[in-house]
């Protein structure tokens, strides 16, 4: 056989081998989904701690100021990964074959991630009877639609809060009252918003109030034309943006260094900046705001389920809820935390709207995953894939 022929033969063999592998992949491959759910209600009691706990969380959700006591009481050493967006949390939970990949125990999922995790079988049911504080929760957070499906609880609510408008009091005068401030050219080149697909809902919310002709009734249920309008607004906004903040600390640095004077934010950044004596203030503009309601969810393949239950039990007790709320600037779901909050910081219970009537919660448009089902009989709303593509279009 000539050299050339041998060479062709070798390449052909390699090609065949690769092709065979590929076909095999087609047959078996995919995201190897996790176990199809254990018992519908979870374990009946909390066993002995496993000595470790792996958390996927929002920044400061296991802040040592209140987590240290947990570690010394239970011996469950905490290993945390701070995520910046719900998508990142979902992706982390889906790695390694889903269900947390046998790596992660708990995830503090917001409403736009929780249902995706439930339907993707990445989280398993939680026995709320093992979490005594659950009985005391504000009713709408006991079994909300975003973490309870057909009566089965897939986690326990922990805190909630709004997305606020943050501004530099020295450079932004007069004080803004509307979200329009981050869409107008007045502060061109000194604006920031989160690099997060769900930010489209904020634009939709603004259009909901300023352009009623578009017919947007829910900022998460957008038809193609409504989504296009939101994207158009965001593309115009891009020219005003210095940098899309990726993490809370990104935004803190942008404000501190003076690169940015106004932007969309979380209360956590405001508290951190004010603690560093930066001249900033936040508010919820007149159009209202989007927000998040977080749930601690248990991974289907959690390697340390007992420690996980201990954490859920611990973090929903009134004193800990109060501490976490004041570290992040959010609101507890356990109303008994109110006196504890006031003890740490006078008047904070009212400031963070802990004991508001039901109507207040309806003014916040909590994050939820956009799906094709518009909820009013129509099924032509844009799903999350479409939102992702739209956001990439805007930011790149």
């Amino acid at each position: 056989m000539s050299r050339a022929k041998k060479r062709y033969l070798a390449w052909a063999a390699l090609g065949l081998l690769t092709g065979a592998l590929a076909v095999a992949a087609a047959g078996f491959g995919g995201s190897g989904k996790s176990s199809n759910g254990t018992s519908a209600t979870g374990p009946s009691s909390i066993g002995k701690g496993e000595g470790a706990l792996n958390l996927i969380e929002w920044a400061a959700y296991s802040d040592p100021s209140f987590a240290k006591k947990f570690v010394s009481q239970t011996g469950c050493k905490i290993h945390r990964k701070d995520a910046n967006t719900s998508s990142e949390m979902v992706a982390l939970m889906r790695t390694g074959g889903g269900g947390g990949g046998g790596q992660w125990d708990l995830v503090s999922a917001s409403g736009d991630a929780s249902l995706r995790l439930i339907y993707g079988h990445d989280v398993k049911p939680v026995n709320v009877k093992l979490i005594p504080s659950w009985k005391e929760f504000i009713p709408i957070f006991k079994s909300p639609a975003h973490n309870t499906v057909s009566g089965v609880h897939y986690g326990v609510s922990v805190q909630w809060g709004p997305n606020t408008l943050l501004y530099n009091t020295k450079k932004v005068k007069p004080a803004p009252t509307s979200w329009g401030a981050i869409y107008s050219t007045k502060y061109k080149g000194k604006v920031t918003v989160p690099d997060n697909t769900i930010q489209i809902a904020d634009a939709a919310l603004y259009l909901m109030k300023t352009k009623p002709s578009l017919g947007i009734r829910d900022p998460y249920e957008l038809t193609k034309s409504q989504l296009d309008a939101a994207v158009k607004l965001l593309k115009r906004q891009k020219g005003l943006i210095k940098k899309y903040w990726g993490s809370a600390a990104d935004e803190i640095n942008l404000f501190k260094s003076g690169d940015v004077v106004i932007g969309a934010s979380w209360p956590y950044q405001t508290l951190q900046l004010q603690a560093a004596h930066a001249p900033v203030k936040e508010l919820i503009p007149r159009e209202g705001a989007t927000g998040w309601a977080d749930t601690w969810m248990l991974a289907s393949k959690a390697p340390h389920p007992n420690c996980a239950y201990m954490w859920m039990k611990y973090v929903t007790t009134p004193p800990v809820e109060a501490k976490q709320a004041l570290v992040f600037g959010e609101t507890p779901v356990n109303p008994k935390a109110c006196p504890y909050m006031n003890r740490i910081q006078k008047g904070s219970c009212t400031k963070y709207h802990l004991n508001e009537p039901l109507g207040y919660y309806k003014t916040i448009h909590f994050w939820k995953t956009p799906v094709a089902d518009c909820g009013n009989g129509k099924k032509n709303c844009m799903d999350y894939n479409a939102w992702q593509r739209a956001w990439t279009q805007v930011t790149s």
Partner: protein, 280 residues
Amino acid sequence: METRATRVGLRVWTLLVVLFLWAPLILVAVYAFNKSNIQSWPISGWTTHWFSVAWHDPDVRSALWLSVKVGLLATAVALVLGSMAAFAIHRFRFFGRESVSFLLLLPIALPGIITGMALNSFYVFAQVKFSIWTIVIGHATFCVVVVYNNVLARLRRSSPSLIEASMDLGADGWQTFRFVVWPVLSTALIAGGLLAFALSFDEIIVTTFTAGAQTTLPIFILDNLRMGQQFPIVNVVAFVVILLTVIPVTIAQRLTADTGLLRRDTRRTVVAETPGSGAV
């Protein structure tokens, strides 16, 4: 050959470029001693306090230890696979010889993100749980070629007749390896191993895709940079990482600086052979 002006110009340019290369590193070293939390310039106060804080931080410790472990494991795998491949390529001519070289070069030639993504999908497909071993495999893919190149270069520069001579003199394969091949290769293997370790210690792109809940030192740095937390500790860790990669590389450089047959250590080997073993 070159005019005086050209020579002066080149010298100045060289100096400027070297300064350009080193200034940021020196800056990081300087920042490691920065007293304040804020990273502005000029630096207002100096302290070594952050060094002890970083040392006592359990996250830093476990990240450092994991990086060292992964580096050693990946280097071991790379040494074995790389030298085996180098031997085969050097000694034998067969069809597909160039392809093997190309194959080993691919992990470095292709963007890291593709290697990372591919391995990630592979692990998910094979239902492999992410652990230190998934990271090690990821690192080994590009560490192999470093060892391979070093060993191959050394083999090419040494005379092939050495092995034949050894065989003619009655040594079997093992003896030839132990007394002839190994001394010639040892420094190349060590150099390759050190370079592979440095490469693995610093790797971030492939590691983010192949790690589960494990945090290596580069992942620690990246997470804290993205989260904007703990800048003083990151400064200290950065400074230490520079030292920890610079030292193996300097040694590796020294080991491979002089090459060829008439190197000190081959001569040493030949001299050692004469009195005791009576190989002549």
